[in-house]
Symmetry: C2
Subunit: 134 residues, 2 copies
DNA sequence: TTCGTTGCAAACATTTTGCAGTTTC
DNA sequence: GAAACTGCAAAATGTTTGCAACGAA
């Protein structure tokens, strides 16, 4: 598995949590999910480890969405959809990620392009249904 | 243009500031830029008016970039490049904005897609030069 | 007078950090 | 036992809000 020298229960739990879910959770969401198995886990620990994983490149950040940073255990480039209503984030694996355009972008700006992000915003199916019935 | 009554002096100045620049400023950057002509302008006023403009749809938000919300007076869909080093945001007008893919995305998620955002991240030319000489 | 806008300071929410105690190897 | 991790609480950050004062009609 990882090249970490030591195994720490909570650190491992945080990484596993991210890899098991497809909800692109925030630090707080991870914290909530882990409380069941680790009642004493601290939010600071979640933040610290998410930072670490991000620096190691073993998770990716989707950036701040509606003011809160969201994370993805899947580091493959792919497209995301954000529901502006319930803040859920979904993967759009079917769509072509524009990573191949990085070279073109680099030419235009005359700099170095490391990553790109394609994100759609709108209202998810569940929220559409909820709003109609309301 | 806008109704330039004295009452809306500062409001107009904020909007004009956004339309005159291509730096995609944050609230704080707008505040700094306006201080010269309006020494008594308050940061809260900048925040309030940016919120208002965003709600009116006459400016667009690029979302939180490195933890700070950035704005664009140009509401035309276009592509952006973010320098992770100096946090500058540049337009990439030459590149095709993927707005036309909203329909395809909507099909995949079964919801309603209102907007999309394509953003490249990396190091701008100025920062590359600076880093090399250092 | 009445309405909307503004400055100031306090409140807010998310994230980061210092430190003492604990866990892992 | 050394080094790394963790919980707690405090601090830091960017943003929002309450309120009194101000300006225009």
């Amino acid at each position: 598995m990882e090249t970490t020298t030591k195994q720490f229960r909570k650190r491992n739990a945080i990484l596993e949590c991210l890899r098991m879910t497809d909800t692109h959770p925030s630090a707080d969401m991870v914290h909530e999910m882990l409380k069941a198995g680790h009642p004493d886990i601290s939010l600071a620990t979640v933040y610290r480890n998410l930072s670490l994983f991000k620096a190691q490149g073993i998770i990716q950040s989707l950036g701040m969405i509606h003011g809160i940073e969201r994370f993805d255990g899947n580091t493959e480039p792919h497209v995301h959809f954000v529901c502006n209503c319930c803040t859920a984030v979904q993967d759009l694996h079917q769509m072509d990620a524009p990573q191949r355009l990085c070279g073109e972008a680099a030419q235009h700006i005359g700099g170095q392009v490391d990553a790109c992000q394609l994100m759609f915003f709108g209202t998810c199916r569940a929220c559409l249904a909820k709003n109609q019935s309301a």
